[in-house]
Symmetry: C2
Subunit: 235 residues, 2 copies
DNA sequence: CGCGTCCTTGAACCGCGTCAAGCCAGGTGG
DNA sequence: CCACCTGGCTTGACGCGGTTCAAGGACGCG
């Protein structure tokens, strides 16, 4: 572990109102967790959790973004999901004592780790929190299953459009325009489930059609409506 | 709704010991649920839940099997998951009031439906149950994300092998041999995420290589070790 | 300046989806 | 009983979309 322990603040002082813990835990448990949690700082591209390593607890993103990846044949990477402030990383699971996926910071991030034993104690005494996490996982499952279908049925162009819109819906708000896609080509192609050459071709096409803007280092969506029409038939 | 209400039994009389309700609910809640639940009988190929229809509650499979499907472009079907006795169907989700997927019986099945209000009451007063459902969903999410990667990276042969082993691991025990795959070609190809012509070709190849046995209506796995070696590099 | 990394574009190959024909089994009706 | 039809499955042929290989450009860094 090369990330250093960050200046830890208590849950009461934490400003992340979307945190599951903050929203649903009693004062007593907030102070217990404040004592037990380990808050760490991660630089861009740093591993937060690694596939196959021992699952010591549940990660809560205080601020930042991360990509959730699964490695296949020849360590080829698939981005299965993106996470942001307030999201959780790590699976609760009896039998499983190892992370089935890896998580890597997309930008500088501050992340709280709460160990399994503490979490179990909290879960058994805070039904609302457990319920909210159950809902969170079930919604992620729903999104994930839609993505299975899309991976099986979409062509490369639609996969790229889907990936751009997915990023946009997660990280951009409607005040900012045109929408910035702050990922490099490797990450976008791994998110779309295609190779980077195909991604380049599709992006070039979309640029020629005046749907996106490509600057030196950035991608902007200038015609989101058009993109939405493309993926609409998949709902 | 054309399935008829089945001779309903109380949870105490129910023999499905793997049911989440049965495992974790108190006596009082078991009797409350027994009063509230609606137990129905479904024939093979009958819809249990339909994508887009109103989500009235949570389904518990008392006995039987079901396929969970998502429909894409031109109503093309993707089987995203299979479920069996003791599993649950239906997503808990605040915002979502409609099923994101459809569920169809693979064989004659008996299924209990418990409405959302009753479930919420149970969840808030039975932390262990809520916790177990959270674990269930998080495990399904993990499986689902592996499948996303496999859909993006596997070739058709590997997808077929993966689908056969998936079915086998869910529904067959090790006393029965060779392992029966009790799905028709349409369902296997929709599970593998390929078209039925490609499936036929791969199955013919596997038959010639003496890895599976094809009879008139059935598929048997005779050399499971070989199949496992194929998907091993994906873990 | 040279080097490495990321990105783009071209070109060739081939895996897979599509179209089409044929087979087999089961069901229906004359 | 046979004739016919239908649906599920198999196999072949073909062509396109996408993967792979390769070369070159743009940029940052030592």
């Amino acid at each position: 572990m090369n990330q250093h322990i960050f200046k830890s603040i208590t849950c009461n002082d934490c400003l992340t109102t979307s945190c599951f813990i903050k929203k649903d835990c009693s004062e007593e448990y907030l102070s217990l967790i404040s004592k037990k949690k380990e808050t760490s700082f991660y630089r861009k591209n740093q591993y937060i959790a690694q596939e196959g390593s021992t699952m010591i607890g549940l990660f809560f993103i205080q601020t930042g973004k991360a990509k959730i990846i699964s490695e296949g044949l020849d360590r080829k990477i698939q981005v299965v999901r993106l996470t942001k402030t307030g999201d959780i990383i790590g699976y609760r699971g009896y039998g499983k004592e190892r992370y089935p996926i890896s998580a890597i910071a997309l930008e500088e991030s501050i992340i709280c780790l709460i160990d399994n034993y503490t979490m179990y104690d909290v879960f058994m005494n805070t039904p609302k929190l457990t319920y909210e996490l159950m809902v969170y996982y079930s919604n992620e499952l729903s999104n994930s299953e839609t993505k299975i279908r899309n991976q099986a049925q979409m062509n490369v162009r639609d996969k790229v459009v889907d990936a751009l819109l997915y990023y946009n819906s997660l990280f951009n708000d409607y005040n900012q325009y045109p929408f910035l896609i702050d990922l490099n080509r490797q990450d976008i192609s791994a998110l779309a489930g295609i190779n980077h050459e195909q991604l380049s071709r599709v992006l070039s096409d979309l640029k020629k059609e005046n749907i996106i803007i490509l600057t030196k280092n950035e991608i902007f969506i200038s015609n989101q409506d058009y993109l939405k029409k493309i993926v609409a038939p998949y709902q």
